[in-house]
Structures are given as structure tokens and as C-alpha cells.
């Protein structure tokens, strides 16, 4: 293996593959803005597999309740202890929904407590500068679902470094389009993904 590979976590419960266009879109973004060596396609990596440890950055999303089995928990715990970064995004538009409750519970149980990530955290200046913290998504602004703008992301910190980054902002929907459609946006809404991945690979 060489270069960065966008890995999507595959877990036994739930719809882990609910955002099939996100990997290609983010790979396109990484290629567009950075000089990172990046593989042209993403991979799906089972959380219960040792393959997980080959990827320093893993993306996890879904709509349905997240219930990890013991193997998945043990692997995720090891993944975090070895310095990997798990980026979790709630693909729903609801408040305190089933994915949110179950996934945060699993993360807290497996890796550690989730805390509000300050909006001046180095994550927001790792590549692009986001003065106001995490960028909002259209689902937060257009009246869908919770009709709220989440002011913070959540994170599990280990020795000051983010082990698990958790988002309620539904980036899975925000970024779920064909990379060719990026030209239709006046401002590329996937730039925040560059910060997350650069942070994961360099901090």
C-alpha cells in the first residue's frame, strides 16, 4: 500500500454504506487541494477485521442504530490507541436520534467520553482555516430534521489528539454527490474534509 486510502468503516449493524459517493468526492477534493499521494478509489474495511489497522483514517456513517460486537469494539479500541482517527458522521437529520444515541454510546464505551471540540481547535486550521468552527451544512439550514445548527463537533481526545471525531451535521448528505458536480458550487463544501484528513495524517 502506498498513499492515502479513504477507508469507510463497515460494521455489522446498520447501513454503513449509506453514502457511496462521499469517498470519491473526498478523494477528488484531496487531489484537488493537496499534494498528498492519494489512491483513486476508497475501500470498505470491516471494523472487526485486522485490516482496519492499515488505515490511519476511517470514515463511519449510517442512519440506523450502531451496535458494535466485541471484536469490533476491541479493534476500534486498538485502532484508537495506535493513533488512528475515526470520523463518524450521523447521516440522519434528527435530534438525539437512534444513530446518535447508539453510536455515541458505543464510542464512549469503547474509546472514551465525547466532549465538545472547541471551535479554535487545530483541526480547524490544519489546512483551510475555519474561523467559526465546523462548516454548516444545507440540512442544518434548510429546515430539514432538527432545524438546528450544531455549533460544535464532538471528539474523543487522547493525549490532546483527536481519536474519534463525531459530527451531527450530516456531512454524508452534504458531500454525497458526484465529484464532477463540484464545479456547480461557488464554494467547495468539501474543503473541511481536507482539514480532517490532513489532521489525521500529520498530528
Amino acid at each position: 500500500m502506498s498513499g492515502f486510502v479513504f477507508a469507510t468503516a463497515q460494521y455489522e449493524s446498520g447501513d454503513w454504506d449509506s453514502a457511496p459517493l462521499v469517498p470519491a468526492n473526498i478523494i477528488d477534493t484531496i487531489a484537488r487541494y493537496t499534494q498528498l499521494e492519494v489512491m483513486p478509489t476508497g475501500v470498505a474495511v470491516p471494523l472487526g477485521s485486522a485490516e482496519l489497522f492499515r488505515y490511519p483514517f476511517v470514515f463511519l456513517t449510517g442512519h440506523l442504530p450502531v451496535r458494535l460486537n466485541e471484536t469490533e469494539r476491541a479493534n476500534l479500541r486498538t485502532f484508537a490507541s495506535r493513533g488512528g482517527l475515526l470520523f463518524v458522521d450521523d447521516h440522519n437529520h434528527d435530534v438525539d436520534g437512534a444513530f446518535h444515541r447508539t453510536c455515541t454510546e458505543e464510542i464512549t464505551r469503547t474509546v472514551g467520553p465525547l466532549v465538545d471540540l472547541p471551535n479554535d481547535h487545530p483541526l480547524y486550521s490544519a489546512f483551510f482555516r475555519f474561523e467559526n468552527g465546523p462548516p454548516t451544512t444545507t440540512h442544518e439550514l434548510n429546515g430539514w430534521g432538527d432545524n438546528l445548527v450544531h455549533k460544535h463537533l464532538l471528539a474523543v481526545l487522547r493525549d490532546g489528539r483527536i481519536s474519534v471525531l463525531y459530527s451531527n451535521k450530516d456531512y454524508s448528505s452534504e458531500w454525497g454527490y458526484h465529484p464532477e458536480s463540484k464545479r456547480l458550487y461557488s464554494v467547495d463544501n468539501t474543503r473541511f474534509a481536507v482539514n480532517v484528513i490532513v489532521y489525521a495524517l500529520t498530528r
Binding site: A24, G42, A50, P65
Partner: protein, 709 residues
């Protein structure tokens, strides 16, 4: 004669019996006094020994029974020595010895073998009194041990009351009762007694520790420490680097540690913190470090035994047995089954949650949950999913209840028709479908043109016919594309390529020949690849027939003969209709992966040279352990120099190791205990060093990342 003899004998025997009673009483009294005296003296000696060397509570518990044993042994010895008092003959001999004037008259009378001399002997015995030596003997047997007893009692009375209490009624925490050195103020740092009262939910008895190096207790336990001396000379703080706040006070985890004084002792209380810490007490430039090691309250362990696996139900009816077991290290508060019912699909989901069979455990360490779930009571619809698990909570009121959960079982209600069909997805219409419409339209145009033929001039008639021929040719090329698509080739229009260019392995001429061969085949004839028929023909025979018919129709139209073209056009339409009626089944599957052309995105032309070079491996996440190792290496020279601060350094090191290096912390604890006891600590120190120097674990082949992990 006989009466006299018997009377004389009775008198002598009666006097001996009375003497025997006195002697026996003397022996018993003497044994009793000697027992008490020996026990008292032994107790006094042991109290003195404890005062001098400071015996442990485990030894002191044995001292009182040991003193009683000494007393009992003394009584046995005395009773054994006075065993002769039980025999009248031995008593008579003792009397003979005490009163020599009897000249064995008493013994002879008691023997009874010289009956004739009995009266005279009786008279001789009656003439002698042994009362005085008997009283002397009795007094001697009683007064001497009584004096010894008095001496023992005086000795105990002279000893400090606390010293006697430590031996007389030993209990945990009575180290403070041991008198300190005379002639100076008591040391406030030693001895130290800690009393730990666990949180009420734990239902554990209070524990008292004497002179502890470490206080291990549940987080949130109330800890009370007590010592001797003046509290005003005492400072206290948490952690080695925290400055002392001032005399008589200190800081414990942000709370002020207040020292109270009274009765020559100081006392302080605090709550066991959640993280390991060091309690540092300072007095007159000396420090005492006590490790505070909070013991975690583990969350309950829950096992869901029924249902045993994920299930799909054909209908949402029936009763589902539920079974789970929960265990906890302290005590369970409650356990229950938890349900989440999810409905919907795609981007629209709704969820309901429910709790089933919540059971109070009342602090039990193990609990078996049994319940039943009526599926029809949940109002489930086809396609709904039930996520079921068991949950147990302990009674932790300090950090909040710890919740343990089981694996989750997923129960799904089958969708309507799920068992009667396979999942299909509609496919977009093929070119053949659109070709059908186009061919029908061309046929209608040709028929209309042919109908107008008698009313038209030849030249415009031919022009109109050629326009239809042009459309027929375009449609023919599209049908040709469909034929290549079916073989897996890309749909490419003939317009974009030269006529002579080969497409899909066939030139247009070869395609036409294939179409001709199809047309000449007998309908219904079996396809025979081995007989020379190519896959192109085998897969596309109806379309090839249409292709050939179109070709013929186009040729007729090109020369202005739509009437002759119409049969070919009808044949083409019929062939397309047959091709369209072919069954098309597309099995549902994953979308093809989207491959990003990285080089194109970067406007780089190729991937080579676009990368920014390999990045350096991430440094290993062992900095914390490295710092511990550095501190450990700093402490070792202090040990070699016999510096008392070395043990404190190891204690503080152990506090920090408790969190991240438990093996090293355990080894350091053993080393500290050995050093305090004056034993060789080499072995545990070596283990501690090895635990701190351990390499990070590797979890299998990691290719590009393994250098940094």
C-alpha cells in the same frame, strides 16, 4: 475390743481426712494464684515487648491467649506437684513428716494390720497435734503466688494505658495508642492511621489501615486519616508538585484539606479521587507520601442468551422468550431489556424505543433476567427492524450508575412478497425499445409515401424516399451499437468512427455477413457455437435479422422504391419486437465504484510526480512511558546512595504509573514494600524497569504504517 479398735481407727482417719481437705484446698488455691500470677506477669512482659519493638496487630491478637496459656501451664504444674494430697496414705506420710513425734503411729493405724496395738497407737496419735505445720503449709502455698499476682498487677498498672490496651484489646488502627518516645513532641507523620468508609451503595464494611503506603479504595470513598501531635505543624497537599497551602491546611483535588486537633491527635478527611494521586504530608521539613489508588467500579457484564441470534420473522406475531444474565463486581441496581424499533428506508427512518421487564436487583452481584416479548404488541409492520439488547446498571451513586449492555440482536419483519420474489430493479429502456418506435415510424412514413406515389412527381418522391433511407441507415447503426453492447462493448455510434474501422472485433462488412447468415438460418434452429456460429450471432440473432432487413430496406429506399422496402421494414420491426420481448433481468447489486482520475483533477497528466513525497512515520505514542522511565532512572542512584527520598520518588512514580503502566506500578509497589521492610528490592525493581522499557505492541503486518506504530 472390736468397737475400740474401730473407734480408734475412725478418729485417726477422720483427722487425716480433714488434713487432706485442707491440703487439697491449698493446692487448688495455689494453682489458681500461680495461674493468675503467671498470666499477669507474662502479659506485662509482652506489653513491654510491644512497647519496645511495636508488634503488628496480627501478633498482638495472639498475645492474650499466649498469656492465658502460660497461666494454665503454671496451674497444671502446681496441681501436678500437689497431686499427693489426693491420697490419704500420702497425706498421712506428709503428717508423719510434719510431726515426727508420731513415729509412724498414724501410718500404722491407717494400715490396720496391727489391730492389737491399735488402741495404743491411737492414743499416741491423739496425743500429737499437726495443726500448726498444716496452717504454715497452707499459708505458704497461697501467699507466695498471691504476691506474684500482686506484682504482675502492679506491673500492668505501671505500664502506659495505651500500651496495655494494644495487647489487651487489639484492634485495627490502634497504632496511635502505642506510646511515643519520651522527652519530645510526638511525630505527626508516624504512626498514621487511615479509615476508609466505602460509598453506601457498595455495602462494604469500613476498613482501617495502619501506617499505609497506599490507600486503595473505591472512588468516592470517605477517607479519614489520623495521627499524633500538633496539627499546626502539619502541611498537606495532593501531588508532589503542588505547593503547600500553609500550616494546618492543604489541597486535595481542589478541596481544602482541613486538619482538626484534639486529645493530642490530628485528624483530616477527604474523598478518594477518581484518578491516582499522592497525598503528601509535610512536617518540619520531612515528608510522608501516601499513594491514593482509586479502585474502579466496573460496569456490569451482561450476556444475552435468548434470542441467540439475529432472526427474520415472516409475520410480526408470536411470543419471543428473552433471557439474559448480568454480573457486577459491587452490586447491581436494576436490569432490563431495551428495544429500538426502526421503520423506513433510504433517507427516511423513524424510531421507537421501549424498555421491557425492568427488574430491581437490590444490590445482588448476579441476576438472571427472564421475560417474554409479544411481537404483536409492538405494532410492527413489514420491513420493521427490532434491535434488542439487555442492559444492567449498578448502584454507583458517586460517578453515576455504570451501565453494561449485551450484544444486540436484530429481529426483522419480512417485507411483503420477500419470500416470493427476488429483488429486482427496473432498468432503463434499451436502444432496442427506442428503435422499435423509430422503425414503426419509418414504416408508417414509407407506407404514407407509397400511398402518395400516384399523386407525386418522381424527383420529389425519390428525395422523400432517400430521406427515409437516411433515417433508416441511422437506425440501423444504432441497432448495430446495441449488438456490440450486448457483447460488453461500449455503445459507440457509427458516426464517430470510420466505416472501415473494426468495432467489437467485427468490421461492418463482417457484421453484415453475420446478419445475412442469420437471415438465411431456419427459424427455431438451435444455436450451435461449435458449428461455426459466433457469439455475436448467438446472442443477437433477432437484432441481426433486423439489421439485415434494415439494410435491405435502406437500399430499396435509396433508389426510390419504398413499396419494395416496406416488407423489409416490417421484417425489421418484427425482429426488433422479438428482441424486445426477450426477458431482461438485472440482479440488484452494488454500484460500480467511482474511480477518481487523480491526475486529471490535478491537471498533472499522470500520477507520477504528483505526490508530495513520503511522509515521515508518526512518532510512537509512548512519550508518557518514556517520562516514567526517565524518572525511574533518576530514582535509582538515590536508592544506591540510601537516600530516604528515593522511596518517596518511587511512590510518586507509582502514582503516575497506576494509570498507564499497571505492570510497572505493581512492581514498584513490591519494591517499595521491600525497601520499607529492609529487604532486597532488586527483583521488583528489575521487573519495574522491564515493564517501563517494554516496546509498543505490534498487531500484525502493517505495511506502510508499521514504522510509526
Amino acid at each position: 475390743m472390736s468397737e475400740i479398735k474401730e473407734g480408734a481407727l475412725a478418729t485417726a482417719r477422720a483427722r487425716v481426712s480433714r488434713t487432706q481437705v485442707v491440703l487439697l484446698a491449698g493446692v487448688v488455691t495455689s494453682a489458681l494464684f500461680w495461674a493468675l500470677a503467671a498470666a499477669t506477669l507474662a502479659l506485662g512482659a509482652l506489653v513491654g515487648l510491644d512497647w519496645w519493638v511495636g508488634l503488628t496487630s496480627q501478633v498482638r491478637v495472639l498475645l492474650r491467649p499466649f498469656a492465658a496459656f502460660i497461666g494454665a501451664a503454671a496451674a497444671v504444674v502446681v496441681a501436678w506437684r500437689g497431686r499427693g494430697a489426693r491420697s490419704p496414705e500420702r497425706v498421712a506420710l506428709w503428717i508423719e513428716e510434719a510431726a515426727p513425734r508420731l513415729r509412724y503411729a498414724l501410718v500404722t493405724v491407717l494400715e490396720g494390720r496391727f489391730a492389737a496395738a491399735a488402741p495404743r497407737l491411737e492414743e499416741e496419735v491423739a496425743a500429737v497435734s499437726w495443726w500448726r505445720p498444716l496452717v504454715r503449709a497452707a499459708l505458704r502455698a497461697t501467699l507466695v503466688p498471691a504476691a506474684a499476682l500482686a506484682l504482675g498487677v502492679l506491673a500492668l498498672a505501671a505500664l502506659p494505658r495505651g500500651a496495655v490496651e494494644r495487647v489487651g484489646a487489639p484492634r485495627p488502627g490502634d497504632a496511635l495508642l502505642r506510646p511515643g518516645p519520651r522527652g519530645g513532641p510526638a511525630d505527626p507523620l508516624s504512626p498514621l492511621v487511615a479509615t476508609v468508609v466505602s460509598p453506601a451503595y457498595a455495602r462494604l464494611a469500613p476498613v482501617t489501615l495502619e501506617d499505609p503506603d497506599q490507600i486503595a479504595a473505591l472512588a468516592g470513598s470517605a477517607v479519614r486519616i489520623e495521627g499524633r501531635g500538633d496539627a499546626r505543624r502539619l502541611h498537606g497537599r495532593l501531588g508532589a508538585d503542588t505547593p503547600a497551602s500553609g500550616p494546618g491546611g492543604g489541597r486535595i483535588g481542589g478541596d481544602t484539606l482541613t486538619f482538626a486537633a484534639g486529645g493530642g491527635r490530628w485528624r483530616a478527611g477527604f474523598v478518594m479521587p477518581a484518578e491516582p494521586a499522592a497525598l503528601v504530608l509535610t512536617a518540619e521539613g520531612r515528608e510522608r507520601v501516601v499513594v491514593l489508588a482509586p479502585q474502579p467500579d466496573s460496569v456490569p457484564v451482561v450476556t444475552l442468551s435468548a434470542p441467540a441470534r439475529d432472526t427474520i420473522f415472516r409475520a410480526a406475531t408470536g411470543v419471543l422468550p428473552l433471557a439474559a444474565e448480568a454480573r457486577d463486581d459491587i452490586g447491581l441496581d436494576a436490569a432490563w431489556f431495551e428495544l429500538i424499533v426502526s421503520a423506513g428506508e433510504g433517507e427516511t427512518f423513524t424510531f421507537r424505543t421501549a424498555v421491557v421487564h425492568r427488574t430491581a436487583a437490590g444490590g445482588a452481584r448476579a441476576l438472571a433476567l427472564r421475560a417474554t416479548l409479544r411481537l404483536d404488541s409492538l405494532g410492527l409492520a413489514p420491513g420493521n427492524i427490532v434491535h434488542l439488547r439487555a442492559v444492567a446498571a449498578d448502584g454507583n451513586t458517586v460517578a453515576g450508575p455504570g451501565k453494561g449492555v449485551s450484544e444486540t440482536r436484530t429481529l426483522r419483519i419480512a417485507r411483503v412478497g420477500e419470500y416470493d420474489s427476488i429483488a429486482l430493479e427496473g432498468a432503463p429502456p434499451l436502444f432496442a425499445d427506442t428503435s422499435l418506435l423509430s422503425q414503426r415510424m419509418l414504416l408508417m412514413l414509407a407506407e404514407a409515401l407509397e400511398a402518395r406515389r400516384p399523386r407525386m412527381e418522381r424527383p420529389p418522391f425519390v428525395d422523400e424516399s432517400r430521406r427515409i433511407a437516411s433515417d433508416q441507415a441511422r437506425l440501423r447503426r444504432r441497432v448495430g451499437d446495441v449488438i456490440f453492447m450486448r457483447l460488453g462493448g461500449a455503445p459507440q455510434g457509427e458516426e464517430g468512427e470510420g466505416e472501415g474501422e473494426r468495432r467489437g472485433g467485427l468490421s461492418p462488412e463482417e457484421l453484415l455477413r453475420a446478419a445475412d447468415s442469420v437471415t438465411t438460418m431456419t427459424m427455431g434452429e438451435a444455436l450451435d457455437f461449435a458449428g461455426g456460429e459466433s457469439p455475436v450471432v448467438a446472442v443477437n440473432r433477432p437484432l441481426l435479422e433486423a439489421y439485415n432487413a434494415m439494410w435491405d430496406a435502406g437500399r430499396e429506399l435509396e433508389i426510390g422504391e419504398p413499396g419494395r422496402a416496406i416488407p423489409h421494414m416490417r421484417a425489421a420491426l418484427e425482429a426488433i419486437q422479438r428482441a424486445r420481448n426477450a426477458v431482461r433481468v438485472y440482479l440488484r447489486g452494488r454500484a460500480a465504484p467511482l474511480v477518481v482520475d487523480v491526475a486529471r483533477v490535478r491537471l498533472a497528466g499522470s500520477r507520477e510526480g504528483a505526490g508530495g513525497g513520503r511522509r515521515a512515520p508518526r512518532p510512537a505514542l509512548t512519550l508518557a512511558r518514556g517520562r516514567l522511565l526517565s524518572r525511574f532512572r533518576t530514582a535509582l542512584p538515590l536508592l544506591a546512595a540510601r537516600d530516604p527520598a528515593a522511596v518517596d520518588s518511587l511512590l510518586l512514580l507509582r502514582v503516575d504509573a497506576l494509570g498507564g503502566a499497571p505492570a510497572a506500578a505493581a512492581a514498584l509497589g513490591e519494591a517499595i514494600a521491600a525497601l520499607r521492610a529492609g529487604r532486597d528490592a532488586t527483583a521488583p525493581l528489575v521487573r519495574a524497569r522491564r515493564a517501563l522499557e517494554a516496546e509498543p505492541l505490534r498487531g500484525g503486518p502493517l505495511a506502510a504504517w508499521e514504522g510509526g506504530w
